[in-house]
């Protein structure tokens, strides 16, 4: 068959640690998102595995994905990536199921890398679609450390430099648990010349009257068009709906996850957000505080033992589709009900 010179065929599959690879990828590339990191980790698995048949490989991918999900506290987002990769593998393997596995593997590899590069470009396309939502003189409310939203607002701000068209202000909701990340986002926006006001989470209702639109990012988009994102998004969405302000979500399409929650407590992950205790909490150790204070670029420290899964810093909540006005993805602007149709067309 064709030469396989580029792909190192080594016997390291046994010592391949997917969790370590995943963390390393996240650490190395600050621009990468969790689902894409998961996919890249799986591609490396593909490279290094010694599976000879299609089904053996599919099985390997499934077990490794499950293992990865169990080890990472907030697994909803990366499960979007693993599910997508499995789906993609199954669909690309079908026509060549009787063919040579090596060609299939090559095909997967090249397409996988293409996918990753496309995913990175997705952020730019979302920014291109979304910046028109930010009109001259408008006030945008946002929160969290979403890089998509950052790119979107950055692009909207840039237009003002060249033609002086869009002048807008941002109200940013600070997160006490992640103050370093919040500060970084605010600084970035101010550097682009955008006036930013920081408010605490308690002031969102108060500030909603001055807001024209709300834009947030998401960690996952669920089957009915609702989103899973940083804790605090749900209450902002509720307040926006009550005040009649549009609520937009900027998310890449690889974040669509096959989950259908019926409520906050149906997410399938154990979040210890509400803990009833009769004794006061002990002080955080240095390591724990450092972890709690981390910025997005230093997401995971391999050496530190992760504290309890989904402590308040990591916690997510679910925003139902009725509160979402539109989702800005790289395939266009979708209504929440269109998400289900996209998923059906992908998975049916």
């Amino acid at each position: 068959m064709a030469s396989l010179g580029n792909i190192p065929q080594n016997e390291k599959s046994k010592s391949f640690d997917i969790v370590e690879t995943y963390n390393r990828l996240l650490h190395e590339d600050p621009e990468i998102t969790m689902p894409v990191a998961a996919i890249e980790a799986l591609i490396e698995l593909l490279v290094q595995s010694s599976a000879d048949t299609v089904y053996e490989f599919l099985d390997l991918v499934k077990t490794q994905s499950d293992y990865l999900k169990s080890r990472i506290p907030n697994s909803i987002s990366l499960s979007a990536g693993t599910d997508l990769f499995q789906r993609y593998m199954i669909s690309s393997m079908k026509p060549t199921s009787t063919g040579d596995f090596e060609t299939v593997r090559q095909h997967l590899l090249s397409n996988g890398r293409l996918f990753v590069s496309r995913a990175k470009a997705a952020r730019e396309r979302i920014a291109a679609y979304g910046r028109h939502f930010v009109r001259d003189g408008s006030v945008v409310l946002t929160h969290g450390g979403s890089r998509v939203v950052g790119t979107l607002l950055g692009k909207a701000a840039e237009a003002s430099k060249t033609g002086g068209n869009v002048r807008f202000k941002v109200i940013y909701v600070m997160n006490e648990a992640r103050s370093a990340e919040s500060k970084a986002v605010v600084s970035l926006l101010r550097a682009k010349g955008v006036p930013v006001a920081t408010i605490s989470e308690g002031a969102v209702g108060y500030a909603m009257g001055k807001v024209n639109l709300v834009i947030v990012g998401a960690e996952g988009v669920v089957e009915n068009g609702g989103i899973i994102s940083r804790l605090g998004t749900y209450q902002i969405a509720l307040l926006a709906k009550a005040a009649g302000k549009p609520f937009y979500v900027a998310a890449e399409s690889h974040k669509f996850v096959r989950l259908y929650p019926l409520g906050q407590y149906d997410l399938g992950i154990d979040q210890q957000v509400i803990e009833f205790e009769t004794e006061d909490k002990k002080e955080l150790t240095d390591d724990e505080r450092k972890f709690a204070d981390r910025t997005p670029t230093e997401e995971y420290f391999g050496s530190v033992d992760l504290p309890k899964p989904n402590a308040a810093v990591d916690a997510v909540d679910f925003t139902p589709p009725a509160l979402v006005s539109a989702l800005i993805t790289e395939t266009g602007v979708l209504t929440p009900s269109a998400v289900s149709e996209e998923l059906i067309s992908m998975w049916y």
Binding site: E223, N224, R258, Y260, S337, S340, I344
Partner: protein, 475 residues
Amino acid sequence: MPSSDPPTIAEPAPAESLAATQAKPQGKNGGAKPVIAQDAPATGDSKLSNAELKKQAKAEKAARRQQALAEKQSGAPQIIVAAAPGTQQKGEAQKGGKGQHKRGASTSMDARSLPVRGAPAVPAIPAAPKKEDKTVEFFRHLYKQRTTSIAGASKEVHPAVLALGLQMSNYTICGSCARLVATLQAFKRVIESYSTPRGYSLTRHLTSHVLSPQIEYLSSCRPMSISMGNAIRWLKLEVSKVDISTPDSEAKKDLCDAIDRFIQERVTFADQVIAKSAADKIRDGDVIMTFAKSSIVQRSLVEAHQAGKKFRVIVVDSRPLHEGKHLAAALATLGLDVKYCLINGLSHNIQDVTKVMLGAHAMMSNGRLFSRVGTALVAMEANEADKPVLVLCETIKFTERVALDSIVHNEIAPADELVIPGGPLEKWGDVKKLQLCNPMFDVTPAEYIQMIVTESGNVPPTSVPVLHRLGNESQ
């Protein structure tokens, strides 16, 4: 000229007035003349003078008008046959008829009913009092007489289908899927016992000459469910795809196999998948509310119970069918913790509920749920109390139709089913201006439904047309 006045319409007792008006000319004329059709046709009578003839004609006209009115209001136009009259009377009859047409405003004389000449029935007055229309105005387009016995069925109806029709009309077989499966099984028997007559081909003859009478008969027993409609459309398509050159026995066997596979895929297997997905959604400590009896909801609850989950069930039920009783009994026998209440206990019980699971008769393309009457109430209450509503529905029940209300498309069951023997409504037919309305289905708006569990996955109500297109129309 003492002539009868044109009778006013909607006179509750036309009989009396007619008799009165007819008595008048009699009296005034001195009573000697045989007046009106009260007497036998005046074949043997002496010749009447012209004036008296005129009088007679007018009186007869009035009588005919009365009868036409009575017919119109009883809603059963009778065909009146003209008695064999003499030429004289014929001439007058024609005159009378013409006169009647002139007075067309008061009665609408059907072209069918010919002027009656001396028919004894007319003047003696319709013996039966005018019957009140007991159908409800909004649903009048849905009233249909149900066939309740096999007498009078067309000879082409297969005995299996006859039996099935009876079972459906008295609710022995009740429920969208049960009826679907039973219908297909009956059609299998029809196909097995079918033999193509000489000069015809199976593909062209079977559908129109054999299946259609069966379908008509079944519809007359009880209107078709939407899933049955989908299945029959599929079956007709399968029949049309049969190759003209295949021998009959092979074609029939293929069709029967296809039907088996269809049931296996769209019902049996679908139910398995749905029951498993729904059972997965049930957590320990849940309180599940359901309405009436849905076979798929029952199956899911049983499966969750067998998986060891600890939960309670509240069954809400309503008259007249009381289907929820069977569900509650079945679940309690298996050891589930069941609470049974009627629909008036809904608002009280909704507070403890964590999830509501409902069955469906059909899902419409605008995301609305078409299900047993009362379901919409349950969904609405659940919405008010912020409880999630799950609908368990196979894709065979999806339809491209759109429902905006519960009136345009529904099924009206006989009103007598609502009457409790010995209760206050027993003689409801005699009570004036009282109508009993017994709709069988209602429509639940899409915004009250959070999730539909189908064999193709969990979808929001807005995705119904997509799945319908993929599942039911892709062939």
